[in-house]
Symmetry: C2
Subunit: 211 residues, 2 copies
DNA sequence: TAGATTGTTAATCGATTAACAATC
DNA sequence: TAGATTGTTAATCGATTAACAATC
């Protein structure tokens, strides 16, 4: 019998909430709040204390009964549960506004990820750096992905180029794609794609607002 | 007894899927594919035909038994179900890379939304246009939101300014916020906030990839 | 101690899937 | 007609919430 549950045990809604609890807890730490109750966390997140405790129960973190959770310890255990300790390399493909936003402003290094390359086809930007990350020629993508052992990619290219680019990245070894392009991708079974269609988020919000 | 179910009847997962079906169906139309079966749609979306039929059942669209759904008709009924016919005004606040990406590239007008203003504090960009949308001074936000009857906002400002900006927008009449800033917002009960934390999407993908 | 709060199970609720009759 | 596919209900599955004993 293994000492810990096998990874892959957490369901998508739980993973999602844990990742957001993590950011909230870090906000608490920044405000020098060291302890938090399930009730307080639930208030900020927008759910209820029962769900918070249930989520935390699943990652086998132990709080202090009657005094709540120590933020710093809970952060550690969420990081372990989400597998954020062993570093993963990723790249951003397509340096339009969105690609640049992700490259320059998302703090990957604080969450066990390393943005090790970005790619574009525009000769005017190739060779430059954004947020400390070099922009490479898309033609060299395959080699660089292999060399740097990149396993995840944010796809920020125009729809017309998305499938071809995605095929190339997968062929070079990418296992997970965050797709910001507005088409559905065909990928082999062993590859995960998460669709991040900004317009769909707006539609959902719009629906809620129209009730 | 009302002829149609009251709006607000659709659950969040159903709304989410319907919004994505909509994009897929439009892709089909663009490829001159006029008819689609629940099975074909499920294959592209990545679920199963039973769920597709169940979702479509809920919006009271009638397909043709034995021949599937007519894409154009299904598109129409999804639009109705999602309340995309009556136009809503929205704004983007913060014209960094992300704000510019949303302003320039998200096709709001095709989905019943009108991006009628964007805001920034930088005098170098105020007065310019991006994607046909004028960038106004954030100081004038309150007036412009009221004048143009803006009800939704994409919040793309730095964390340090997010809460203040959000308060201002809500006070001027905004009812729904898509929050791209990395903090939790305190809002009154009648306002909906959707959190779009890019780093959380990466954490979720990373978890899936590490299984 | 009394009060607060967690840990954990059980109950409830809702979402997904299966099944199949109806229909074109 | 036979085959394909929807429409719709029922069954299953999983996620959320409630409850409360345990504990500090």
């Amino acid at each position: 019998m293994p000492p810990k549950k096998p990874s892959g045990t957490l369901s998508p809604p739980v993973i999602q909430r844990l990742s957001e609890y993590l950011l909230i807890l870090e906000q608490f730490i920044a405000q020098e709040q060291e302890v938090v109750s399930s009730r307080a966390l639930a208030t900020v997140y927008g759910n209820n204390s029962s769900q918070v405790r249930h989520d935390i129960f699943q990652i086998e973190h132990k709080g202090s009964q009657s005094h709540g959770y120590l933020c710093s310890e809970l952060i550690k255990d969420i990081r372990i549960a989400l597998n954020l300790q062993n570093e993963k390399n990723l790249c951003v493909i397509g340096m339009g506004n969105l690609g640049r936003a992700i490259t320059a402003h998302v703090p990957f290094d604080r969450y066990g990820m390393k943005l090790s390359a970005s790619f574009d086809v525009d000769p005017n930007v190739i060779g430059k750096k954004i947020g400390g990350v070099e922009i490479f020629n898309s033609d060299d993508m395959s080699n660089i992905i292999k060399e740097q052992n990149i396993t995840m990619a944010a796809l920020c290219v125009p729809a017309s180029r998305a499938q071809k680019t995605c095929d190339l990245a997968i062929h070079a070894g990418v296992k997970g794609i965050l797709n910001y392009s507005r088409i559905r991708l065909k990928v082999p079974e062993h590859v995960s794609v998460h669709y991040e269609q900004i317009i769909c988020s707006f539609m959902q919000l719009s629906y809620k607002c129209s009730l």
